[in-house]
Subunit: 234 residues, 2 copies
DNA sequence: GGCGACAAGATTGGCGACAAGTTTGTTGAC
DNA sequence: GTCAACAAACTTGTCGCCAATCTTGTCGCC
């Protein structure tokens, strides 16, 4: 009896030592989320339970729970008795996501304008000026996107609406790849930049309603560009 | 050895025969969802795993999975090693839900106006006329709400945007109770009715933008009423 | 009498083993 | 040579057991 207990304890220790610390469900979800978002695993690829269990050195039950979370977020599809595959992004679905994103970001822009002191946006008046012009001229889209995401996060932060924040998060994690493909489309970065200047100006002036309308137009335009160049994106 | 196998098979058969068919995860989720939405179990009530396992005659593991789904939908809170309780609706949270609901339903109203043939809305021009007036006069709020929900479902159906549909669904399942408490507030039913007449009229005329704006105003007004009478609602 | 500590009971968490189903590879006949 | 049927290996689905943690009740001390 005591021998068995020792065996269990030993196993636990071994596992803990072997891979540093045992990964929690949340950790694994986060890792896989990033992989899917960055297309490290391509859509349609199969996610085997045993495979993942071996990689993360955790029991299969835990992987199963992870896959449940990923499924509820709509990142993977599970077919009974056949396993889990990374969801494919249908073009129609992307359009649906963009329509929803437009109204939600519009809402957040308006709320943020109401909640934040106007000086908050000076930083972005500055950034969306000369620096971003230079990024566009140099085709430095990485720097371009970094600034965008910073703006996005700041808006959500000041909107102070966790419900909207959660929903937008689930949209971003599905469309991250698409966003990167849209900005490199001809003329889109420049166009998006001037649209954002208008948004930020309205926010700085404290005009939430206008900022909302402009933000929605901005995303409708992005969607329209996507529609025109869909052959090159998906 | 073979005796053990027989035991297991016998048990399975017994379970299958005893309770008809074994409930699937989805079935149990649906049942609990309704209970929570209808306040059959009050917020703050504890949901014991063994208790539920006994009630539905399924292994505890399945209940665990069910609780996982309910948690990801935000219907329950799980405290490690202490169990699951039905989430309380904070007033602030309700306001956040209403802001998001306003823009999402606004979107759906606009899309539905664009997608559906105008005659689609004749049914509701009719219903929102004399019949609903009568319901308000008689304080028949149940009939009143039935018509509203029919309208809501029709809008979502014609909006043809599964993303928005899903998000609105998760909002409704949390605010169902609140909706019922708002319509009985003094004057709110009558006010809401006239607002809806305007919405339907715009939809019938094919003016999606106006319909969207009116729908958003409608929900902002509902929220405002809720704010004024918050003491009596929560 | 009240408060703190300890032990017993109960509940949740984690895991490995077994069962069911699917895919793949092989063998046989047409 | 091709197709179908069967078998074996592998993958997913289900379940019950054991460990960890919290709750509760009791006892002893201040």
């Amino acid at each position: 009896m005591s021998g068995r207990v020792v065996t269990l304890k030993t196993k636990a220790k071994l596992r803990a030592r072997k891979s540093g610390t045992a990964s929690s469900v949340q950790d694994i979800v986060q890792t896989l989320r990033e992989r899917i978002a960055r297309h490290d695993v391509s859509p349609g690829a199969k996610l085997g339970e045993q495979e993942l269990a071996a990689e993360f050195a955790v029991p299969r039950t835990r992987i199963r729970e992870v896959l449940g979370v990923l499924e509820s977020r709509g990142l993977i599809d599970r077919i009974p008795n056949r396993g889990a595959v990374v969801s494919r992004l249908e073009l129609d679905h992307v359009f649906h996501l963009y329509d929803v994103r437009a109204v939600l970001e519009g809402l957040c822009v308006r709320l943020a304008t109401e909640n934040a002191p106007p000086e908050t946006w000076d930083e972005f008046v500055e950034l969306f000026g000369a620096p971003m012009d230079e990024f566009v001229a140099n085709r430095d889209f990485d720097a371009f996107i970094v600034v965008y995401e910073r703006f996005r996060r700041r808006i959500i932060e000041w909107a102070r609406n966790p419900v909207a924040a959660r929903m937008l998060d689930s949209i971003y994690e599905k469309t991250n790849v698409v966003i990167r493909r849209i900005v490199i489309l001809p003329g889109r970065a420049k166009e998006g930049l001037s649209e954002h200047r208008a948004v930020v100006a309205a926010m700085r002036a404290g005009d939430g309603e206008t900022a909302e309308r402009l933000k929605r137009m901005n995303l409708q335009n992005a969607k329209e560009t996507l529609r025109r160049f869909q052959k090159y994106v998906l």
